[in-house]
Every structure is written in structure tokens, then in C-alpha cells.
Amino acid sequence: MRRVFMLWIAIAVIAGAPALAQQAIVKVGFVVDVTGGASSLGVPERNTVLLYQDEFGTAQGPAGPVRIQYIITDGESDPTKAFIAAKRLIDEERVAAVVCCTTSPASLAIIETVQAARVPNISLAAAVQIIEPVQQRRWIFKTPQTDRLMIDVITDHMRQRGIRRVAWLGFDDAFGQGGLVEFEKIAPQKQIEIVAKESFARASTDVSTQITRAMGRNPQAFLIWAIPPGANVANRNIRDLGIMLPVYQSHGVANKTFLDLGGATVEGTLLPAGKLLVAEALPDSDKQKPVLLSYLERYEGRYGRGTRNTFGGHALDAMFILKPAIERTLKQGIRPENTGGFRTVLRDQIERGTKELVGITGIFTYTPRDHLGLDRRAAVMIEVRNNNWTAAR
């Protein structure tokens, strides 16, 4: 039995080992959901960081280049696990900043921790509560568009089409709830009536019951707030039941999976998203176009054509924002070993120095009052045509 203990001690030593090596490097910790329910978001996020970690691996300091190390941890789509992972990055790796997390509940779960530890955090999740009220969220920024912004774009499009009665079909989780809250706020302002509110689970295999119920209220369109594969199940069920009403989806389906799974059933589906999906069709005058095309070339070159999705973009935006901020911090003469000081200055640099920064999701300008930094330019309506993303009319 002694051997069992030795094995255990060995594991403990190996586990503790990385903490022992302390060099003059700047560490950035990512907590993304590689497994679990949000993995279709987390995996492209991870992939993007892996793709860019070398290019963004050095910061020019006044005393020469300093290495930036990116540490990726799996949040397992569970707020507690993400919390522990973030804690370990902060306490053990002494990272200068964390990029956490993929989902809203996990991002909310670490708020107090990063606030108390005084570590800048960039969240990759949508909910607006993550950064508001800003006074209590000084250390937290985010890169994805908020649900509010997206719903704004969708409802405008609906009005334009003359749609007044909408059936809501959303996930029964934080993502679905976050969308519904905003939709309920914005819809009345635009004279849109929510005639049905149905929910379904992420793992649902059949949503036809909910659709049937909603159809009882004579909607003019469906708004589905979900991510694949659940989003596909709902979309497909609508078409399977022979319903030909317009279907709106959220930005949560802006990935290849949705198209692959959807096939003919998602033809004509409308969704709001960043410009990434339709980058080629943008006018050359668009400031984001070259950045988008370069990312696409790299990402699709590595992971295959049509694998583009906005989530990897959110992660890349965090890298876009962090690297210059780290360089500015180094320029102020702050040594990375001075973890506390470095974090504080880094936060200020992110807040003050991120101006008109052209990213994948949009063009970022952070201020002490705005930790989202995006405006309406960050989203366009997209329609699925010929199993591909096209700009919606």
C-alpha cells in the first residue's frame, strides 16, 4: 500500500511543479469551456488562442521583449469548476489577467473573486450584468456583443418586415433567460408583441410540443434563443411541422455546426452576428474587413473551410486588447514580478488605452463607464442562403 501513497505524492509534486518555476514572464490565463454544454463555444475559443499564442507571445518592453504565456484551462461548462480554475490561475500562476469565462453564470461566479484579487478579467460571455453596474465591476471587461445589442438589431429587422407578433422559443438556461429579459424590455418599445414564451433544455431532442403550443397563439415569426444542437432541433421541428413562418435565431448559432446540422431546414433562417460570418461581402471601406479576412484565412486554413464562428473571435479580441495593454504597462516601468502592481496598471491601461481598437467582434472603445466598448456597428443581420451566411436584406 505504500506504493499508493508514493504515487499520490508524485501526483501532488507534479501538480505543484508549475508553480515553482517563476520567471520574468507575463502570464494570461484563459478559462474556456472545452467540455460540457458550452463546448461548441469553448472549443473555437481554445482553438483561436492556440493559433495565435505564438504571434501574441512577446510584448515589447523598455528592457527588451518579454514573453507572454497563455495558459488555457477547461471550465467544464460549470460555474464552480470555472471558479476554481480562475482561482488557481490567479493564486498559483499569478497571472496578470484572466480571460474568463465562456458562459454568463461562470463569468458572474468569478466577479467577486477578480474584484477582491484585483485582477483584470475579460469575459467572453454575453450577459450585460457581467459588466454592469460598472462601479462594482471595475476589473471586468467583455468582448462579445450583449444580448441587448443583438435584440436591438433583430427587432429593427422585424419591424422592417412588418412582423408584430413573435413567438419566443428559448433555452431554459442562463443564455435563454438573458435573451428573454432583454427581448421583453425592447419588444414593447418597438410595438412588437411576444405572443408565446416557450422554453426547452439544451439537450432536448424534440421541441415540437413547445412549437405546437406557440402556434396556438398565431405568431408571425419565431425567435429562437439557443445554440446548436438544440437550436437546430427547434429550427428543424418548425420546418418538420410544415410551418413556413420566418425563423429568427440568436448570435449563438453563428458557427459552422449550425449550417452542417441544419442543412435544408435552416434555409432562410435570420440571425444577428458580428461581421465575421459575411466578411467577404463587406465593402472594402469597412475598417474591420482586413482584420476579419486575415483571421478567417488563418482559422479556416487550420480548422477547415466554413469553420468560422464568432466565439473564437471573442477570444482573439481579448488577445488584441491585452497585448498592447501589457506593452503599455511594461513601458511604465512595471516589472511583471510585481504581480499586484502589474495587474493594477494593466487594468487602467485596458480601460484607458483601448480606443477604436479594430477587432473581430467590432471596434472597441472602453471607458470608465463602458466596459463593453461596442456599438451598433458590431452586428449585422445575416440570412442563411444556400447553406451559407449572407447579408440579410
Binding site: G37, V43, F200, T205, T212, N232, V233, D240
Partner: protein, 298 residues
């Protein structure tokens, strides 16, 4: 849509879901009746079958051979799990065996994740065509395939269990393992056979549902759980009653979600389940303590 139309639709979609649960429930009963194991990893057989079929199809296999290979592979996987993980621990308590199947569930899930990643996969419907109207309910063609193939499987299982000596010996192991050994039936081998059957049924459920609902590496647990519900309600013993209970569970789930609230879909279904269980428990208690204690020791 009128209320009666809606109800018809709820029942129809509940029925189809229940049929899928039934395939998983049948596998659980086969395993439990012969080896006394509650198999948490049952749903993984479905996920494996579905993902394998999708990959084979992508490799250019025609649909039906791909499905057949996937189901056969799931069957082999089932037998393999019994040989590797269950048989070495057959003397262990029911609780330890349960934990072992949890471990198997995790390991299989990890392997599926490794091989197929987190992306969902889809299979084409087995035949193309517009949805079919039955009464006032709309059923897409794949639903008919689900029901038809399940019915066929039930008939095959029925014939196997009642017409062949192998099937009879399998039942004999479940009814009275000691007596089975005394007539020369190798109960351990029958255990493997039961797992093979369960694996095949799981794989079949997987390939049937994927054209409806897409396959992911982690689809198994929830599917298996619902099959478990149907199987346990009727005492983990009877094949036909398991099918009936699973279909009833699917319909209750669908009606509850449709008529009361889709938000409370699972809560309604599981509350109904607890009520059924209590009713069963209380009716046993009326006979007396000893009977229920003996029932618990099964």
C-alpha cells in the same frame, strides 16, 4: 391550432420519444435481469452508435450498411464493457457495481469526446418525403421509422425469448440464476450476451434518433436516464411493460410540457414518476414488511 389538435400532436411526439426511451429501457432490463447491474452507461451505447454511423456515412458508406455496422459495433462495445469492467467485479455490492458503470460512463464519454469532439453530428432521415398526417398530428417520416423499427425489434426480441433455447436460457438466468446453473447454463456468458443485446439496442436507439435530434458525445446520460425511468417503474423485470412504461413516460412528459408549462417539463414528468413509485411502494407495504424487504434484496 385547436386544443384537440395540439393534444394529438403532443401525444404523437411523446409517443415517438417514448419509443426511443423504450429501446434504452429494454437494454437496461436485459442487463439488470441477468447481471443485476443498473447500467448508467447505457446511453453511451446510443451515442457511440449514432456517432459511428455518422462517421461511416461521411466516409462514403451507404446508409443501411453504415447503420448495421454501427449497431453491431455498439453490441460488441456492450459485451466488451461486461467482460472488462463488470465481470471482474461481479461479487461486489450493487452500489459498487453502480459506481463502476458510472466510471464506464465517464470513460466512454471521454473516448467519444476524443474521437468525435464536441461537435454535434447528424444523419439523414432514412427516407425523404413530406411529413405524414395521422389524425390531426403531424409526424415526420423518421418518426415512422422509429416506431416501425422499434416494433420490428420487439417482435424479434419476442421470438428470440420465446422460440429459441438461447433466448429461453437468458430468461432462465433472470428468473432463477441458481436453477439456471443447475441445468448447465453458464450464467456469466449469458451476462455478456445480455450486455451485447443491450449494446445493440442502445446503438439502435442512437441511430434512430439522430436524424431527429442530432448526436453529440454527451447525449447519452439523459437518454439513458429516461429509459431507466420506464424500466424501473415496472420493476426492471418485464420487457413488454418496460416498453409501455417508457412510451407512457414520453407521452406524460410531452403532455405536461404542452398543457401545463414547457418550463416545468422535467419536473412534471419526474413528479408523476415519484407518485407512481410511491403508489407501488405503498401497495407492497400493505402486504407486509417482509415482502418489501425481500423485494429490496433482489
Amino acid at each position: 391550432m385547436s386544443l384537440s389538435q395540439q393534444i394529438a400532436q403532443f401525444i404523437a411526439s411523446g409517443f415517438v420519444n417514448g419509443t426511443i426511451y423504450a429501446l434504452l429501457g429494454l437494454g437496461l432490463v436485459a442487463i439488470h435481469s441477468v447481471t443485476r447491474v443498473v447500467n448508467v452507461a447505457q446511453g453511451e451505447f446510443a451515442a457511440f452508435g449514432a456517432l459511428l454511423a455518422a462517421s461511416l456515412l461521411a466516409q462514403g458508406f451507404p446508409l443501411w450498411p453504415a447503420l448495421a455496422i454501427a449497431v453491431a459495433a455498439s453490441a460488441i462495445l456492450g459485451g466488451g464493457v461486461h467482460r472488462v469492467a463488470i465481470r471482474p467485479a461481479r461479487q461486489a455490492s450493487a452500489l459498487v457495481l453502480l459506481i463502476i458503470t458510472i466510471a464506464v460512463h465517464l470513460a466512454l464519454k471521454g473516448i467519444l469526446l476524443l474521437l468525435w469532439g464536441t461537435n454535434p453530428y447528424s444523419l439523414p432521415p432514412f427516407s425523404a418525403g413530406p411529413p405524414v398526417r395521422i389524425a390531426s398530428a403531424v409526424l415526420i417520416r423518421q418518426s415512422l421509422w422509429v416506431i416501425g423499427i422499434t416494433a420490428l425489434v420487439l417482435i424479434i426480441l419476442y421470438l428470440f425469448f420465446t422460440r429459441t433455447i438461447r433466448g429461453k436460457s437468458l430468461r432462465a438466468c433472470a428468473v432463477n440464476p441458481t436453477a439456471a446453473r443447475l441445468v448447465g447454463i453458464r450464467v456469466e456468458r449469458m451476462g455478456t450476451l445480455a450486455w451485447v443485446i443491450a449494446g445493440a439496442l442502445g446503438g439502435l436507439a442512437g441511430v434512430l434518433i439522430t436524424p431527429l435530434a442530432l448526436a453529440t458525445y454527451d447525449m447519452g446520460l439523459i437518454l439513458g436516464l429516461k429509459g431507466f425511468v420506464g424500466a424501473v417503474v415496472v420493476g426492471m423485470a418485464s420487457y413488454p411493460w418496460t416498453v409501455a412504461a417508457c412510451i407512457a413516460f414520453g407521452i406524460v412528459e410531452s403532455l405536461g410540457a404542452g398543457l401545463i408549462s414547457s418550463n416545468y417539463r422535467d419536473a412534471i414528468a419526474f413528479t408523476a414518476l415519484i407518485v407512481v413509485l410511491l403508489w407501488r411502494a405503498l401497495s407492497t407495504l400493505r402486504i407486509g414488511l417482509i415482502i418489501s424487504e425481500e423485494a429490496a434484496q433482489e
